[in-house]
């Protein structure tokens, strides 16, 4: 399945205008994930690693994004990510202790991370509670959250995979973040 630039823009606009925060579109090998986010856009094409584009550099980096993105996206508030063949090369963030898994610093607050969030080694990704003691869990890896493997409020055992992260090397993210 191929998408033209116009089609992508159309989809982005629809999402922008709608109440939805996320769109997952899948057709055979092709998978399109669009998320409304704050800071950054992520583009991915089959077989190659993530192409991260901050909104400002979107135009500049469009040659990497093949036929999908040729212009600035209509809104700075939209994250585009086209992901194919998940799971590969992903690094797990494991529970360093047994306890209850919490995604938010407190009830009602936004979660520490979402799928697509960029994390560095020191980013807090969740809390693990052991009898009212809340332990902040650091990512320990630099990259993008690809998958959240545990439901909020669940018991996690020692060593259980909490998140899957697509790792990115340091230079690359620095370059792209400019």
């Amino acid at each position: 399945m191929e998408l033209t630039h116009d089609e992508v823009v159309k989809i982005l606009k629809l999402i922008e205008a709608s109440e939805f925060n996320e769109l997952h579109l899948e057709n055979g090998d092709f998978k399109l994930v669009i998320k409304k986010g704050k800071n950054e856009s992520v583009l991915k094409k089959e077989g190659i690693e993530d192409v991260r584009v901050s909104l400002e550099s979107y135009e500049r980096r469009r040659e990497d994004s093949v036929s999908i993105a040729e212009k600035k996206p209509p809104s700075e508030d939209v994250t585009v990510r086209i992901a194919v063949k998940e799971e590969e090369d992903l690094v797990p963030i494991r529970a360093p202790l047994l306890g209850i898994f919490w995604r938010r610093p407190e009830p009602g607050a936004p979660p520490y991370v979402e799928v697509g969030s960029f994390v560095t080694e020191d980013t807090t990704v969740c809390l693990i509670e052991v009898m009212k003691v809340f332990n902040a869990i650091k990512a320990g890896v630099r990259g993008y959250i690809r998958k959240i493997c545990v439901e909020n409020g669940q018991l996690v055992e020692y060593g259980q995979t909490l998140f899957l992260v697509k790792p990115v090397s340091e230079e690359k993210t620095e370059g792209e973040a400019s």
Binding site: L98, G99, E157, Y158
Partner: protein, 452 residues
């Protein structure tokens, strides 16, 4: 009602508890360390949860983690087994706080009996004979004063202790001076409390203990006594029931004393009252109370027909003891040998590793409690117990014969074990004739292994 039991323990006892739960139709959660994730208890339990890394201080000893695991898996009871947290009153209390049933005595009783000086005092108040001994000792001068009062030889013990750690036999004031600081330091390191006390040392002694059961309604019965005289460095290696070398009258008196003590403290669940029997004077003295299921409980089970772990669960669930004292009958004689992964030839050096061949003995009157199998890796982080071989016969002679057969036909390859040593011990004439005391094993093992 107990519907699901979490077992924060490992090895044969975890498996033993799972079996008792299955028999009662209770679901089980094995709470295991990383090293035990593939163990038999983890496979046999209905659920398994990994509570932390291999080192016990990061897994089996973490009360908060264990409580969280129980609440998170929907268990409503915890059976601690023996070792690890079994005699930490903090776990029993944490269970009470979080609405979980602790399968064992209330925290308050564990706390009282955990302080050996306090336990001694309670025994004294209940008119149970105790050895001449001291109060808490402040310093060396104090120790020398008390030792003179008591009369040498004396034994230096940790107030917070048990299990032989920090214990030293002292025959002269000079020895006392030389050993006091080290013993206090050892006690502090092992129990977080360096307090020491002194007791008279009985050189020609047997170790006798009484299995008791108490329910929440003040009923206490005993299941007879065990003879655990065969020890190496204060660790029991061969245990028997009944203590057939003691006069019947003494056995009855010891059991009566045990029940009296248990009643006086409102003891609940299974417990063991330990005594020392002075063979020269034919007198017994209170030693300590163990507020848990013990390693050697199977010998009592084999001669009474009672599943002690099942009884523990029933009592914890609030049931009355099902049997009266008159209904408890001792039938025949049972012996247990602890097979450990240690090399007797090399000073009992631990021998962890992969078991390449494992064929336990089978036959009439033979029971093997174990968590091992061919291909099992014996981890280096825990105690070295591989199996308990228990034999029962119509009398002691038959039980010994069956033990000889069982040890002879136990195949273990890949790790060094104490099987040859156990075979040696049970075939010694002194053992067969009962001419032993608590120092006998060390004496004969020196003879056997130092010759080379």
């Amino acid at each position: 009602m107990i519907s699901k039991v979490l077992i924060p323990n490992r090895g044969e006892i975890a498996l033993r508890i799972i079996k008792a739960c299955k028999a009662l139709g209770i679901r089980t959660v094995a709470a295991v360390s990383e090293a035990d994730k593939e163990s038999l208890p983890a496979k046999f339990a209905d659920e398994v949860v990994c509570i932390g890394p291999s080192h016990p201080s990061e897994s089996y000893l973490k009360i908060e983690t264990i409580i969280t695991a129980a609440l998170g898996t929907g268990a409503n009871a915890i059976h601690p087994g023996y070792g690890f947290l079994a005699e930490q009153w903090e776990l029993a209390e944490a269970c009470e706080t979080h609405g979980l049933i602790f399968i064992g005595p209330p925290g308050e009783i564990i706390k009282k009996m955990g302080n050996k000086l306090q336990a001694r005092q309670i025994a004294e108040e209940s008119k149970i004979p105790v050895l001449p001994g001291s109060q808490r000792i402040q310093n060396v001068e104090d120790a020398i004063f008390w030792a003179k009062e008591i009369g040498y030889p004396v034994i230096l013990k940790a107030a917070a202790g048990g299990g032989g750690r920090g214990m030293r036999i002292i025959t002269t004031p000079a020895e006392l001076k030389a050993n006091f600081e080290a013993a206090a330091a050892e006690a502090l390191a092992a129990f977080g409390d360096g307090s020491l006390y002194l007791e008279r040392y009985i050189p020609n002694a047997r170790h006798i203990e009484v299995q008791i059961l108490g329910d929440k309604f003040g009923n206490v019965i005993h299941l007879g006594e065990r003879d655990c005289t065969l020890q190496r460095r204060y660790q029991k290696i061969i245990e028997e029931a009944p203590a057939s070398f003691l006069p019947l009258k003494v056995r009855e008196d010891i059991c009566t004393a045990a029940v009296k003590l248990a009643k006086s403290i409102g003891y609940e669940n299974a417990g063991t009252i330990e005594f020392i029997f002075d063979q020269d004077e034919a007198k017994f003295y209170f030693l300590e109370v163990n507020t848990r299921i013990q390693v050697e409980h199977p010998v009592t089970e084999m001669v009474t027909g009672i599943d002690i772990v099942q009884e523990q669960i029933r009592i914890a669930a609030g049931e009355h003891i099902r049997l009266s004292q008159a209904e408890i009958k001792i039938m025949g004689h049972a012996i247990e040998c602890r097979v450990t992964a240690e090399s007797p030839e090399e000073g009992f050096r631990p021998s962890p590793g992969r078991i390449t061949r494992w064929i336990p003995p089978k036959g009439p009157g033979i029971r093997v409690d174990t968590h091992c199998y061919t291909g099992y890796f014996v981890p280096p982080y825990y105690d070295s117990l591989l199996a308990k071989v228990i034999t029962v016969g119509i009398n002691r002679r038959e039980a010994i014969k069956r033990m000889e057969y069982a040890l002879q036909n136990f195949v273990i390859e890949g790790v060094e074990t104490t099987l040859p040593f156990l075979k040696f011990l049970i075939t010694q004439p002194e053992y067969i004739e009962g001419k032993v005391n608590t120092k006998w094993v060390e004496m004969v093992s020196k003879k056997r292994y130092n010759k080379k």
